[in-house]
């Protein structure tokens, strides 16, 4: 049964920019505590400023919070036919063009790079291009692949 797999025609789709995400100092502290990131620059503004940053710095995987919110436009679209109970996260990649810091206002454009069916499984790869809301400068690229099992 391949009709339970995601619709391949979504490949190549690009979504409109999201509303700006405001990066908060307390959110970064909360996320750093959750992943166990101990570097003081995640929580202490003075430590962050000592490294040349305007405010506390996001852990390396924090951008997933922003990316997952953007990915929901696609993943939760019934027309995309993604059954989340059949989804396994296959891979993830963060490329940081510059670090994310508290006070950033960030806009995300979601791309569906590929939807490939093979042997009853669909591999769905999305890419989030995260940019600064004020000048459009690139901040982070987040690439994620989900494996979706068909009904067997």
């Amino acid at each position: 049964m391949t009709d339970t797999l995601p619709d391949p025609s979504f490949a190549g789709r690009e979504y409109p920019p999201t509303a700006p995400y405001g990066v908060g100092r307390e959110k970064l502290r909360e996320f750093a505590a959750a992943v166990g990131a101990r570097h003081p620059a995640h929580v202490d503004p003075d430590a962050a400023r000592g490294l040349g940053y305007a405010d506390v710095v996001a852990p390396a995987t924090f951008a997933v919070v922003i990316a997952q919110a953007a990915e929901a436009q696609y993943i939760q679209d019934p027309a995309a036919a993604i059954d989340f109970s059949r989804v396994v996260h296959a891979d993830e990649r963060f490329t940081h063009h510059r670090p994310i810091v508290a006070g950033d206002e960030l806009v995300t454009v979601l791309h569906v790079d590929s939807v490939v069916h093979r042997a009853g499984i669909a591999m769905v790869t999305t890419r989030c291009e995260i940019t600064a809301a004020d000048d459009g400068a690139p901040v982070s690229t987040v690439t994620s692949t989900l494996a979706v099992r068909g009904e067997s």
Binding site: V35, H89, T95
Partner: protein
């Protein structure tokens, strides 16, 4: 905070070792902090109902926790300019248990022109790899 000196590094140097510990409380904390409320990470009946051995650690939590020691080693969290992994095996977390995940990171590639080091992470639970191709590029 002084970071490592590029010229002092050699391919093969083990630069981080750490034991991560995951219990149910930590999974719930990550769910709240990240916004990923997939029930396979906190609802045992749901997780076993979809064929998992138990509630499992968010792959993104394992990935996020494994990079912390690299950020500390680098001396600057913003020095991690690229980080990727595959999720190769779920990490089940039984109720009232603490599951240990071992992290070891070694220098795999040194790029003298870009002044970057690629640190490859070996991340295992009960002796089996749970992350694959876990690679962080650190600017020094």
């Amino acid at each position: 905070m002084g970071g490592p000196v590029f010229e002092d590094l050699s391919v093969g140097d083990v630069v981080v070792t750490e034991t991560l510990r995951f219990d149910r409380e930590r999974l719930v904390r990550y769910a709240g902090a990240s916004g990923d409320f997939n029930r396979i990470h906190w609802d045992e009946a749901f997780a076993t109902g979809v064929g998992l051995p138990n509630v499992i650690v968010h792959g993104m939590l394992t990935m996020g926790a494994a990079i912390g020691p690299v950020e500390e080693w680098a001396g600057d969290p913003g020095a991690v300019i690229d980080y990727q992994t595959r999720f190769t095996r779920p990490v089940p977390v039984p109720a009232d248990d603490v599951v240990e995940v071992a992290v070891s990171g070694a220098v795999a590639v040194l790029d003298a022109e870009a002044r970057t080091a690629r640190v490859d992470l070996t991340v295992t639970a009960a002796g089996a790899k749970v992350l694959g191709k876990a690679q962080a590029v650190v600017r020094l």
